[in-house]
């Protein structure tokens, strides 16, 4: 399996009035052809920043400080050099969280599809473009492509809109698709349909898929491998089954324990506390102050142990036994906030 | 099209005139006299005005006689026609007078109240009968314009304004609404034909802009320049004409209300104000100090007058007296400064002054409805050079201000009017003026305005003290 995407040592920093923040720190990621990699983590841990880095759409005050990104072997990003617009859309398709709002409300679906084709496949005739548009909608399981092509976004249901958004991302046959929380706003039934759609898409076309979500259960259903992010770092990665069944990072274990399930009948406890604000000067394990297993050693930076694709970033990794106890809260109250 | 703004020189020698405001109506029966700049080119007064501001026998009416105390006959110039072909005969003259007496909105109505009948005796003679003897009927007719009877009856004010017809040296050409009014030379004019092919009037309320138009050669004549602009025009090498006018600015000491119901207070105020100082400091020679109320002609002064004496004024006042000083803000040249100067002198003498600038409409309304008190500044713009104009305008009990009105004043004014001629009436007017201004201190005459206009390459414009302008003799170099 060749690697579609290779991210190495990616470090993304943001300049703010108060301090320089470290949004993504030393992220390594590999996505193969036809592989689905899930990225999970709490809100604000840097998932979207990672995605935006991959398509060169970082905000004005955010910049890549180190690391590189290769797409199909071509280096597309290095410090000081953005991913270009010709990569974006052509080789990498992106689906964002809010499908309802990721379609321009003023243009018909047909126009928006044609526009993408005109940009990346300038050779196509109008007839070919129309055919391709209808075909891609068909592939998305849309039964009346012609009606949808002639509709404005607001005339479609949420599920249809999400399919159209995916269609827009894949109409140019990209090598890689990035999906950033693209099912969060959907009803469970629709969500299940969209997930199935992704599964079929990857199986049929062999694209690589990065599926960003905060829903562990969803990731577990869809993904081949999972990377867990915390405080801008990937703290654990590995095959889905391994990560979910025998988590090694206390954070992963805590997340799993938080998932409501009829099998965890004890008192529901999450992970008390909140993630720290990571400045560029931050030292040590990001999770230390919420972790029951933390020790003095955690004050130093923690390296990655294990293989590239499978490993953990923790000094006190759990032994891999199923359902390890999460770090019990050190106190009954917490004092986080800003 | 743009007639008014082509670069240098005017197209075909048409005289381009810039006024300070747009004439509201071109119907002389209802229109304000200040608009006669424009209609005066088309329609003519029944009687012309000489250089001495007295009626002249060179106009439509060529002669007149007083048959008895109350009967006048006027000889009408034969063979004159309106530009629409109507005959400008005695009947037309009689009709014009009646229009002014009877028209509902006729602006001169109140002056013609004593006229009992007007008849055309024959084609060339008009007979006017008055109720009581009145010597100034010819003076009044200098301000009544000859209107085409049939045309006016058909068109009414609106139609006439849209297209006036008269016997004048110019005939109506066109108007561009809100922008300009044009007249062309009347080839069939009964008198000396004008050398100008026509006149185009435009207007601009801002003096600096009027001057700018003249300097940029977008105009040939601009009227109504305040001293600053007049001086500037002179400095720029333009011809500036200064015309002493009969328009007088008078302070009224409202005598039927406190504080000026007290003659002593009136006297103090009258003594406090030094009109010479005001004129000298504010006007750069564009006004003349004026000591009387009934002296109409520009250089006339009354036989008796009040001299400023601030010391005596101070001694007359016991205790603080507060007087409201009302004036029509921005209405006349430097009126705001004048008000301040008057106020300053009054304060010097021990008064406390409350300034009350209002707009002109409010001022007239307050005056007419007798709501006003204290001192107010008001302008009198005579249309005829007869003292009665101000006597009946301000003094008598049926006048608008009726300040200090008393039966004695009414009798004096009436008696003066019944005299045989102006000379015989003059002593009575002198007496009236002395009583009102010097003895009673009801009025505070201030100054007479001088008007300035500037021209570039134009000669022969005639501008008289009564605010009438004649363009007939104008020539462009």
């Amino acid at each position: 399996m060749t690697a579609v995407l290779e991210v190495g040592g990616l470090r993304v920093e943001a300049e703010t009035a108060a301090a320089d923040l470290l949004l993504v720190d030393g992220a390594d990621l590999r996505v193969g052809n036809g592989e689905i990699v899930g990225i999970v983590g709490e809100s604000g841990c840097g998932k979207s920043t990672l995605v935006r880095t991959l398509i060169g759409m970082l905000e004005g005050n955010v910049a890549v400080a180190a690391g590189e990104v290769r797409l199909g072997g071509d280096r597309v990003l290095a410090p000081g050099h953005d991913v270009t617009a010709s990569v974006r859309g052509a080789r990498v398709g992106t689906v964002f969280q809010d499908a309802a709002r990721s379609l321009d409300p003023l243009f018909k679906i047909g126009y928006q599809l044609r526009e993408v084709l005109a940009r990346h496949r300038p050779g196509l005739t109008a007839a070919q473009a129309a055919e391709k548009s209808a075909a891609v909608l068909g592939r998305m399981g849309i039964t009346e492509p012609d009606r949808v092509l002639g509709s404005y976004p607001h005339q479609l249901s949420g599920g249809l809109r999400q399919r159209v958004a995916i269609a827009l991302a894949v109409i140019t046959d990209p090598e890689l698709v990035l999906a950033d929380e693209c099912t969060t706003a959907l009803d469970v039934t629709t969500q299940a349909e969209v997930v199935a759609l992704f599964r079929d898409l990857v199986r049929d076309t062999g694209v690589g898929l990065v599926f960003v979500t905060h829903d562990l259960l969803l990731a577990s259903d869809l993904c081949d491998r999972i990377a867990v992010m915390y405080g801008g770092q990937i703290v654990e990665a590995g095959p889905t089954a391994r990560v979910l069944e025998s988590p090694r990072h206390p954070f992963t274990a805590g997340l799993l324990a938080s998932v409501p399930s009829r099998h965890t009948e004890g008192p529901l406890v999450g992970i008390p506390g909140a993630a720290p604000r990571v400045t560029t000067a931050f030292q040590g394990c990001r999770f230390a102050d919420r972790c029951a297993a933390a020790s003095a050693a955690c004050a130093d930076d923690v390296g990655w142990t294990g293989a590239d694709d499978e490993g953990v970033r923790c000094r006190h990794p759990l032994d891999g036994a199923p359902h390890p106890p999460t770090g019990q809260p050190p106190t009954t109250t917490d004092k986080e906030g800003h | 099209g743009d007639t008014a703004t082509s670069g240098a020189g005017s197209a075909g020698g048409v005289l381009r005139v810039v006024l300070n405001s747009q004439p509201a109506t071109l119907d002389p029966v209802v229109g304000a006299r200040s608009d006669q700049y424009v209609w005066g080119t088309i329609v003519e007064p029944l009687i012309g005005t000489g250089d001495d501001l007295e009626p002249a026998k060179d106009g439509i009416i060529t002669d007149w006689a007083r048959e008895n105390d109350t009967t006048w006959t006027f000889e009408v110039r034969p063979g004159v026609e309106f530009s629409n072909g109507e005959k400008a005969d005695a009947a037309a003259v009689a009709g014009s007078i009646l229009l002014n007496r009877d028209g509902e909105k006729a602006i001169l109505k109140s002056y013609l109240g004593n006229v009992e009948s007007v008849e055309a005796r024959d084609a060339d003679t008009v007979e006017v009968k008055t109720g009581t003897p009145q010597y100034n009927i010819p003076n009044l007719l200098t301000n009544i314009f000859l209107m085409p009877p049939k045309y006016y009856a058909e068109q009414g004010t609106a139609g006439f304004t849209a297209h006036p017809v008269g016997t004048g040296a110019f005939v109506w050409k066109e108007q561009q609404p809100g922008r300009s009014i044009s007249v062309t030379a009347n080839d069939a004019y009964w008198g000396a034909k004008t050398a100008l092919p026509g006149v185009t009037f435009t207007w601009s309320p801002d003096a600096a802009q009027r001057l700018a138009l003249l300097r940029s050669k977008a105009a040939d004549v601009v009227f109504d320049l305040p001293p600053a602009q007049a001086k500037e025009a002179e400095d720029a090498g333009l011809d500036v004409q200064r015309v002493k006018s009969a328009m007088k600015i008078v302070g009224f000491l409202q005598s039927d209300k406190a504080p000026f119901d007290d003659p002593k207070v009136r006297e103090a105020a009258a003594l406090a104000v030094d009109r010479d100082a005001i004129v000298a400091s504010i006007f750069e020679g564009q006004a003349t100090a004026d000591a009387g109320l009934l002296n109409v002609k520009p250089d006339e002064q009354p036989t008796a007058s009040v001299k400023a004496d601030p010391e005596r004024a101070k001694s007359l006042l016991n205790g603080k007296v507060t007087i409201p000083l009302t004036y029509p803000a921005k209405k006349y040249t430097y009126i705001d400064e004048v008000a301040q100067a008057v106020g300053g002198q009054l304060e010097e003498a021990g008064f406390t002054v409350e300034y009350n600038p209002v707009d002109y409409g409010s001022l007239t309304t307050e005056v007419v409805t007798r709501k006003i008190s204290g001192l107010y500044l008001f302008a009198g713009v005579p249309n005829v050079a007869a003292p009665d104009y101000f006597a009946h305008g301000f003094l008598t009990s049926d006048s608008i201000t009726a300040n200090c009105a008393s039966p004695e004043f009414d009798e004096l004014a009436a008696a003066a009017l019944e005299k045989a001629d102006p000379a015989a009436a003059q002593p009575l007017y002198d007496e009236l003026n002395t009583k009102a201004v010097v003895d009673e201190h009801c009025y505070l005459p201030l100054y007479k305005q001088t008007f300035s206009y500037a021209t570039s390459g134009v000669t022969g414009i005639e501008y008289n003290a009564l605010n009438a302008v004649l363009f007939d003799r104008a020539e462009m170099r």
Binding site: G72, G73, D74, H81 | A208, S281
Partner: protein
């Protein structure tokens, strides 16, 4: 997905700011921005209030006809009249300082009289909705449809020009735009869920409006009021210019400006300087208003 050359693809220099994604806002904003504009404004206000009392300036009403129309120092004048003199030889600096009092007072009062009714109407319309809203909104629209200047001119030409009438005009013409903005903000706020939460706790509608909505709108209202100060100053000067606002001998910037109008070709400074003063103050006031508005922007979750 051809693995041609594993070498460098042509890479493009990174743009520092891709289109419309930066988080910073331009201009003066935030607390620092507010201070930055408020400081010079305060300075002007203080100067205008205190300078006349110090006796450093000549009497603004003292005429000196011998020294009329002297240019300001920077245009060749002398230091005894740093900003020159007007037609009657008044010291222009003294008059500007003195006139500033009236101008700023009209600005402040003018804002208050417009903002108070505007806020109440807007609050009522935005909170009550339904028929109340429909009626009030129509009223606001109708008011906006009447050319403001004609309202001003009509009222003033009838009532004469006095401070009271001027304020009446400012109230009459200023409430509607304010009400519109407040209504919109109130409508956003009333959808916030603390409103039903308070209702559930037994709070009365009056309490919700006065104790919760109003304080939350305070920022917007203060900002609107600030902007209205600028408007009031401009209105005053425009009316004075047309001879219907503040007229001599009262001094305001608009009145000084008006008196300089006919002198513009002779003594430009008489009209130019008050114009500059007005522009500067209105500019500062507008900047302050903007800074306040952006600081209190409800979409940013209500900072203090």
């Amino acid at each position: 997905m051809t693995l041609t050359t594993p070498t460098e693809q042509p890479v493009r220099k990174a743009k520092t700011a891709p289109i419309g994604t930066a988080r910073r806002r331009p201009g003066v904003h935030g607390r620092r921005g507010v201070v930055l504009v408020a400081a010079p404004l305060l300075l002007i206000a203080l100067a205008v209030l205190i300078l006349p009392a110090t006796g450093l300036l000549p009497d603004p009403d003292r005429q000196d006809l011998a020294a009329a129309l002297r240019p300001p120092v920077f245009a060749g004048g002398a230091w005894d009249h740093p900003l020159g003199t007007d037609k009657l030889g008044h010291d222009l600096l003294a008059r500007l300082v003195h006139g500033g009092r009236l101008t700023l007072m009209i600005g402040l009062l003018g804002a208050v009289v417009a903002i108070v009714p505007g806020t109440l109407v807007g609050l009522l319309a935005g909170y009550r909705r339904g028929l109340t809203d429909t009626v009030l909104s129509r009223l606001i629209d109708a008011q906006l449809a009447l050319p403001f200047i004609l309202i001003a001119l009509s009222v003033i030409s009838n009532r004469g020009s006095s401070l009271g009438v001027l304020l009446m005009v400012l109230a009459l013409t200023g409430w509607a735009p304010c009400a519109r903005v407040v209504r919109a903000s109130a409508m956003v706020l009333r959808e916030r869920q603390f409103v039903p939460a308070l209702r559930a706790a037994g709070a009365s509608e009056t309490r919700i409006v006065l104790r919760h909505l109003l304080p939350n709108l305070a920022g917007t209202v203060v900002a609107l009021a600030t902007l209205q100060v600028g408007t009031a100053v401009l209105v005053e000067s425009a009316l004075s210019f047309l001879g219907l606002g503040v007229v001599a001998p009262s001094i305001s910037w608009g009145a000084i400006l008006a008196s300089g109008q006919s002198l513009i070709t002779q003594a430009w400074w008489v009209a130019a300087l008050p114009g500059v003063a007005i522009t500067v103050v209105v500019l500062l006031v507008n900047l302050l208003g903007d800074a306040l508005l952006s600081h209190y922007d409800p979409r940013k979750g209500g900072h203090r």
